[in-house]
């Protein structure tokens, strides 16, 4: 019974590792080109100086920091959502967790690049490490940037572990089904996994520990990113709401990124049987909830500033509300609030297409939100004489485009070499593996992967690989 039900799953999900479509090479080429352009632009910037970007007095932080906050926000897709779903033992999580956790690791790596790209002297970035240097000086632990450094590194380490742990049994599965060099590589990655009950127990408890440990880390990392802003006495930065506001926004944009990634995977790898409308429906509900929460935070932030009527803050407030930045502001409101609310509150439009459209809106809207936090405040600081402007340059835009292409590149490569859906977790959720009590609940909630749905596949010849 077990073997017959689980084999098609493994066949389906391992297939991308053994078969390569022309689209894989097309995506590699296209995104690889953009990434190469990005590296060239970065090299050009290092060679000539940060002046080739649009930064100026007084807008010393701009597009790079916007992208930094944006990508760190996207990284909350994975680990945080997947950890919550694991802890509440949501049955439908099984096909979703890994695609989410990968987003975290890659988005975090990309996001963590930006503070280095943005440095005036990036070749000295290692001075943020507390190491016994001949300069006899440690990083300044009072600086939120130093906190950032540690928070991001902790989160990156944690989420990498969180991603790698449940991949071990799947590596073992690939190892057992392949030959030659591939077998040796996956064998090394599988760390000698044999699938004894002791190993399973250890893996399960390790995942429980990681899921609990990663939650406070994920919350703290975006709070600390928000501290980069809220610690400085800059109008509309210096706000106590920034910590939770940033965390909520991060989860919000993370869910949107996850929905987009899942929809792309579903089409590209033909995972229609695994990534069901139910998953999009559930994630759509989560996105709706976060959209409302985001709207609440923006309302609370804006109302407090407006009611307080402090002149320095009002300059920024009006610049975003009806001044030069108003088009961005209202686009953000429409993308983050109006569209998701309109599409996702209605069960008829909360389908896959609806979720994808809403998620596109949220990704754009959340990027604009980060931009509107970074730039208008710096261009409207306390002394009106020092008000300024900002205008991005091609170098900045190329580097920004390269990070988006880089995300696609890394994600495609990952889906090519690792089963993007956790096979063993999916199998563990099969009805035949569950005791009757959980079974009835899982039947209602879960992926609905039961033998009936796999009727035709049962007779499919096995030797596809």
């Amino acid at each position: 019974m077990d073997r017959t039900t689980s084999k098609p799953i493994a066949d389906d999900l391992i297939r991308p590792l053994f078969q390569t479509s022309i689209w894989f090479y097309a995506i590699m080429l296209a995104s690889g080109t953009v990434v190469a352009c990005g590296f060239a632009a970065w090299g050009y910037q290092i060679w000539n100086g940060i002046g080739v970007s649009g930064k100026r007095w007084p807008t010393f932080w701009a597009l790079y920091l916007t992208n930094f906050v944006f990508w760190i926000g996207i990284s909350h897709a994975g680990t945080l959502i997947s950890a919550i779903l694991r802890l509440v033992n949501a049955g439908w999580r099984r096909p979703v967790t890994r695609c989410a956790e990968v987003i975290t690791v890659f988005a975090l790596s990309i996001g963590a690049l930006f503070p280095i790209i943005h440095l005036g002297r990036p070749w000295l970035a290692f001075w943020l490490f507390p190491y016994p240097s001949d300069r006899d000086i440690w990083p300044n632990f009072r600086s939120p940037l130093a906190w950032d450094f540690f928070a991001i590194n902790t989160y990156l380490t944690g989420s990498l572990l969180f991603l790698l742990l449940p991949m071990i049994p799947d590596f073992a599965l690939v190892r057992d089904r392949s030959t030659g060099l591939r077998r040796r590589i996956y064998g090394t990655l599988a760390l000698g996994w044999r699938g004894t009950s002791k190993e399973w127990n250890r893996l399960e408890s390790a995942m429980q520990i990681m899921a609990i440990a990663i939650l406070p880390v994920a919350v703290s990392v975006h709070t600390i990113v928000s501290f980069d802003f809220s610690m400085a006495n800059v109008p509309m930065w210096h706000s106590t709401i920034f910590g939770p506001y940033f965390v909520a926004g991060a989860i919000f944009s993370g869910i949107a990124a996850l929905i987009l990634a899942m929809a792309a995977l579903r089409k590209a790898l033909h995972l229609e049987k695994y990534l069901l409308p139910l998953h999009f429906d559930n994630l759509g509900k989560l996105l709706l909830l976060m959209s409302i929460l985001w709207g609440y935070f923006v309302f609370a932030e804006r109302l407090t500033v407006w009611y307080g009527n402090e002149p320095h803050e009002m300059a920024v407030f009006w610049a975003t509300q009806r001044g030069a930045y108003a088009p961005f502001y209202w686009t953000m409101v429409i993308c983050n609030f109006v569209i998701p609310l309109g599409l996702l509150a209605n069960p008829y439009t909360r389908n896959i297409t609806g979720c994808v459209i809403a998620s596109c809106g949220v990704v754009v809207g959340m990027w604009l939100e980060r931009f509107l936090i970074v730039v208008p405040s710096l261009t409207h600081k306390q002394l009106p004489y020092s008000w300024g402007t900002y205008e991005p340059t091609p170098v900045e835009l190329t580097i920004m485009a390269a990070t988006f292409a880089g995300m696609i590149l890394l994600y495609t490569l990952f889906a090519k070499f690792v089963p993007i859906i956790s096979i063993w977790e999916l199998k563990a959720g099969l009805p035949s593996r569950l005791d009757p009590a959980t079974l009835s609940e899982e039947r209602l909630l879960s992926t609905r992967l039961d033998t009936e749905e796999f009727g035709p596949e049962l007779s499919m010849p096995r030797g596809k690989q």
């Binding site: 005036g120 002297r121 000086i137 939120p144 006495n233």
Partner: protein
């Protein structure tokens, strides 16, 4: 006794001639970036003369306010620097160690006065300006922050001389370039720890106020201005 360098700026004396700006550029090897970069906001003026206009045409009054680093006691720029490039030195100056700076530019954002400047490119001097570089001041390379130092090279020299002659720095004998160049002596520099110095006396003046004082950075520059409650009609 430790020094605590400060300045008083008499706004009633300032004519907005910008001699201080020029003198500062010459003394501190501040690069000129050219009109194109200046238009993009890359100009570096450690001291600038802000112009504010009051009233409506034709009854307009221009007010000048020279703004330089306020050398805050409680400086927001220092805490945020991850590499201690910005720090408070023993004389209470907000010192900037160029070689420690990695260019996060966080200090410039935290500074409420916007008096920190960034080397967006390696500095260049249009010939023959390269021949007048001050050998006492280091050239800053691309990617580092710089700001008013109160002409720390002059302070060091004066302190060394005074120490050799076994005395303190005489009030008025030491001036930064801006104060030295000011034709109306609107800028008065000195030791705030010496209660009898000119600057300490002016800092106690009822005409005095601090720039953005309510933000709590405790600047060491006092702006002297005709206060409106003295002669409301002439204002």
């Amino acid at each position: 006794m430790a020094y605590r360098w400060g300045m008083a700026v008499d706004l009633d004396k300032c004519t907005g001639c910008e001699a201080c700006v020029t003198a500062c550029h010459a003394e501190n090897n501040i690069p000129t970036v050219g009109s194109q970069q200046a238009a993009r906001g890359r100009a570096m003026h450690w001291i600038r003369v802000e112009r504010y206009y009051e009233g409506n045409f034709p009854d307009v009054r221009v007010k000048f306010r020279p703004v330089l680093c306020q050398q805050c006691d409680n400086a927001p720029c220092e805490a945020v620097c991850p590499t201690y490039a910005a720090h408070q030195n023993e004389d209470g100056l907000n010192a900037q160690v160029y070689n420690r700076c990695i260019g996060t530019r966080y200090c410039a954002n935290a500074c409420t006065y916007n008096v920190r400047f960034f080397n967006f490119f390696n500095p260049e001097w249009v010939k023959p300006l390269n021949l007048q570089l001050n050998p006492d001041v280091s050239i800053r390379e691309v990617g580092v922050m710089e700001k008013c130092t109160f002409c720390v090279q002059r302070i060091k020299a004066a302190k060394t001389t005074a120490k050799a002659e076994n005395r303190g720095v005489v009030d008025g004998a030491l001036q930064p370039a801006c104060a030295q160049a000011c034709p109306t002596t609107a800028l008065i520099f000195g030791d705030l720890n010496d209660p009898n110095s000119r600057v300490a006396r002016l800092a106690r003046s009822p005409r005095g106020s601090k720039l953005l004082e309510d933000l709590g950075a405790e600047p060491k520059i006092t702006y002297l201005d005709k206060q409106s409650w003295h002669e409301p009609d002439t204002y």
